[in-house]
Symmetry: C3
């Protein structure tokens, strides 16, 4: 049994410590720990980063890759004895755009999967809208989609936390 | 009468839900709702975005365009029976720079207009300084001006809120 | 004597008012005020900015340049009668990268110097990870290093504050 904790969104910048924070939150719960990775290794930089993160998490975790079919993965892996960690929604947004998926429908499906999950779901996301407006239209569209996903998921979860320099600020 | 609420700054990233939050705050007040839009439609992307937002706001709102003469618009439209929403200060900063206005004088004028307003003023602004330093000098200058405006307005208002993923953090 | 205050990290965006906030915090303490500047003036834009900031701080401050040997400077200048302000860690990160230093070792040295300081140390840092992923690999590496430094320092200090529009949010 994973306990009384509900679903949690952990939001933060790049290298803010959000993934580590989310993992720490998952690890204080009992039950199986399933890491749903949305990252896809397109180049050596990404491959190295992914491998490093997997080593960092340690042996308590099993890792499942879900670059696109995230709602389905949550539905498949969530059980009353399992904690599911999704890392992260922003790479998923990027994957959806590259695969030319309907992002609104995918977001709706994700929210439905989280609300129907049988155990706690912890979701990690980047905040990417706090810099200068990007030059190119695709980056602006990505920023819009990522921000929209964050808002929809924030509405669905029980708690949301913003991380800066590894430290939490409660949003909800 | 718009009630005892004072002036409010709503700060957040792109697609953070800051405009919607600010509108929600305005709509719980009684009185006329005036939306002072600083956006200028230079291309189809912007035109589409503006039209969409106008439909989103619904019929309770009247919309006034004030891309540059924002202080004057606040002074003209603020009455004890009116809630004025300015959306947003960051586009206004951009407009001032493009029009080669004196941004310091304009900011001073804005703060004076807010402090002299006869009803509540809600101002929306982007935080744009939390990404990597921009490559070009104009973007850096924009970032400086936008940040300065945010600080000056934050000092003048009664309350300030930071929005992430649609959720508020109280700043003041 | 500088009083019972411990070490403080002030985190924020560009033009968020973080330096001014940090200076204000230093100035309410008694003792000598030492400003450890990590900025290096490579061009006129930077030179102008640095000179302006020095005038802003006023005569109570003495300024020491420490673009690279920051740990050593903290160790040299910190006394029970001195408040040391480091402004800022993010330019230091940039300097380390340009000088091809070992950033992990330098960060460890910095944290050690802060923890061993004989008076309060106030450190200013930029959060740079809340925009779109930068196009080039060097900027991504910079973002990683800056974020890592922020996390390590945040762990070491007694208090940490996030600044937006000049207003503080307590992180720790």
């Amino acid at each position: 049994m994973s306990g009384a904790i509900g679903h949690l969104l952990v939001l933060g910048g790049a290298r803010s410590g959000k993934s580590r924070f989310a993992q720490g939150r998952a690890e204080i719960l009992t039950g199986e720990l399933v890491y749903l990775a949305t990252a896809q290794a397109f180049d050596d930089e990404m491959r190295e980063r992914i491998a490093l993160h997997r080593v960092d998490r340690g042996p308590r975790w099993s890792t499942v890759e879900a670059p696109l079919e995230l709602a389905e993965a949550i539905t498949s892996y969530s059980t009353p004895e399992t904690v599911v960690l999704v890392d992260c929604l922003t790479l998923w947004a990027s994957n959806l755009l590259l695969a030319e998926r309907d992002t609104a429908a995918a977001t709706e499906g994700l929210v439905h999967a989280v609300l129907s999950a049988r155990g706690p779901v912890i979701l990690v996301a980047n905040e990417v809208g706090l810099g200068i407006v990007p030059d190119n239209a695709l980056a602006r569209r990505f920023r819009d989609v990522a921000g929209k996903i964050n808002q929809e998921v924030a509405r669905a979860v029980d708690s949301a936390i913003f991380i800066a320099a590894g430290l939490p600020i409660s949003l909800k």
